[in-house]
């Protein structure tokens, strides 16, 4: 792991984030859109972890380095929990729509506009 520089992880995170963001705009199935959002969240997770593992904060005089490590790892747990909650809610909403419309194309959901 030491051989791989921090920049590699950050780049991977950034690319994942960009793919996710583009996917949200491009895809029409809400489940896929939601997967893309998950991708964005995971990009953030990866970034958190990479920073936690590698990073030496310029503020180390002020902030305990142990705190820094812990914050990043704790963040990932938080985000995973939040993402799980979002999945539950999101699938519920999508299911409700599917039951009443038999199709789930977001481009056909535009009763509300103007």
């Amino acid at each position: 792991m030491e051989g791989i520089p921090l920049a590699a992880y950050l780049s991977l995170g950034a690319v994942m984030f960009a793919i996710g963001a583009l996917g949200v705009v491009i895809r029409r199935n809400p489940i896929v859109i939601f997967m893309c959002i998950e991708l964005m969240l995971n990009a953030a997770n990866l970034t958190f972890l990479a920073f936690a593992r590698y990073h030496e904060t310029p503020l180390s005089r002020i902030i305990d380095p142990n705190d820094t490590y812990m914050t990043g790892q704790m963040a990932v747990i938080f985000v995973m929990a939040v993402a799980a909650a979002e999945v539950a809610i999101g699938l519920g909403i999508i299911m409700a729509i599917f039951r009443s419309r038999e199709e789930i194309d977001v481009d056909k959901l535009n009763l509300l506009r103007g």
């Binding site: 950050l10 995170g13 984030f17 996710g20 963001a21 949200v24 809400p30 859109i33 939601f34 959002i37 964005m40 969240l41 990009a43 953030a44 997770n45 970034t47 958190f48 990479a50 920073f51 990073h55 030496e56 904060t57 310029p58 503020l59 180390s60 005089r61 002020i62 902030i63 305990d64 380095p65 142990n66 705190d67 820094t68 812990m70 914050t71 990043g72 704790m74 963040a75 938080f78 985000v79 939040v82 909650a85 979002e86 809610i89 999101g90 519920g92 909403i93 999508i94 409700a96 729509i97 009443s100 419309r101 977001v106 959901l109 535009n110 009763l111 509300l112 506009r113 103007g114």
Partner: protein
Amino acid sequence: MSDTNLTPAPIDWMALLPIIGVTATGVIAMIIEMIRPRQTNNAIVWCCLIGLGVSAYFVLANWSRPAEETFGGLFMNDRFGQVTQLLLIGVAFITVLFSEGYLREKRVPFGEYYPLVLWSTVGGMIMVATRDLLILFLGLEVLSIALYVLAGLKSGEKRSQEAALKYFLLGAFASGFMLYGIALIYGATGTTHVTGIGELYALRETLVDRYPFNVLYAGIGMVTVGFAFKAALVPFHMWTPDVYHGAPTSVTGFMAAGSKIAAFAALIRFLDGAMDLSSVWLPVLTVLAVLTMFLGNLVALVQRDAKRILAYSSIAHAGYLLVAVIAYSKAQGMFDVEIGYGTVIYYLLAYGAMTLGSFAVLSLTARGGREGTLLEDFHGLWRRAPFPAAMMLIFMASLAGVPLTGGFVGKLLIFKDAIAVDMLWLALVLAVNSVISVFYYLRIVLAIVVREPDLHPTRFAAVNPGLFAACGICGFLLIWIAVAVDPFMKWISPPEQHAIELRESPPESSVE
């Protein structure tokens, strides 16, 4: 910041009590519904009202404590947080008060409704009481996830479903940005506490070569996007009209008032941390404010649906609020100007009261599972329900900024602040916008007061005591804060000896 990572921080139960109170009330409300399924919801309403009252009391019990951070920096116990928590509790209180009749008429299941409103409030209360970005994100998600469900609560209705899905997808999308932004700020500073931003900036001279400027700035930009979404700033506002329109009206009222209060309070906390960088983000926010005010007001002019008009009006008001926030932030960097957060709180209170009140009145058109929200559907409301209609006049007057109402004084305060920080042009933009807004508020007034019902009049729901009380409270508040500006401002401002230290930093970090 904690001493070591081994000793857990002491738990400050006192500061946490309001949040626990509201959460527990939600749990009790859910249990009551479990015990007596599908029966009258009076018991739940009373339980919620009492629980919220007790929680408000808990907030006041903390009132005289000195401002300090507890939970190892995760929780900020100060007057600003207390006041905004009170506002959020008040919003939930009034929402609970007026929704009973609406839910019954609209046939919305109420078993989930009340606990979700309360837990959403909890999310907001967490957001406003922390200066740690991660906790802020957590609060934001608690607030939002409950709102996603609330928006789609009328599950058989296509509009409600659509609103929920749009809100959910876009909200999660914005969360992604915010979270990534937090990750970047964390990467740059090594902490998720907002003070880290300022501290890092203060070190820029000593760290010239390895100063992670770009990461930090990108992080701030992304977090700004997250806030802008929640606060419905242009161009991140597009979900607002659709979601406000589609969601059940009482939920819309709660969403419009509650989530905006939480978002702006949290935004102030965030910007306090990033104060030293204000020359960087102030222009961005200024542009957003101008866009938001104009777009909100102009599009509201051409709407035909009362809920959409109010949705666009709430976008415009987000713009006004942003002007107040900008003036507040800018004044922190000026030596001769002193502006507290009072204006923002004042306007948030006025905005919350008038928005909730007007949505409460709008909820009167629901009857027998249907609801008409076009302007025509309100014709003749004056005859059927004179008191709510009269209160609606106050709300509209206040939204439009007619003197002797809270909305006017609020705008005047913002105007004054903007001038004080040498942003006269922004103040004029605000003035012009508030004149434009008169037109569409007048349309609502005309629909309600002047015009007679058509041949097939809409049937209005009976005014229940809860709605009566909710309108009365909001109307009274708006007049009262307009008359008693000074006592109110004194009440919400921090006590002198414990004034929030805006750029509070640990003593060892004091930088030359």
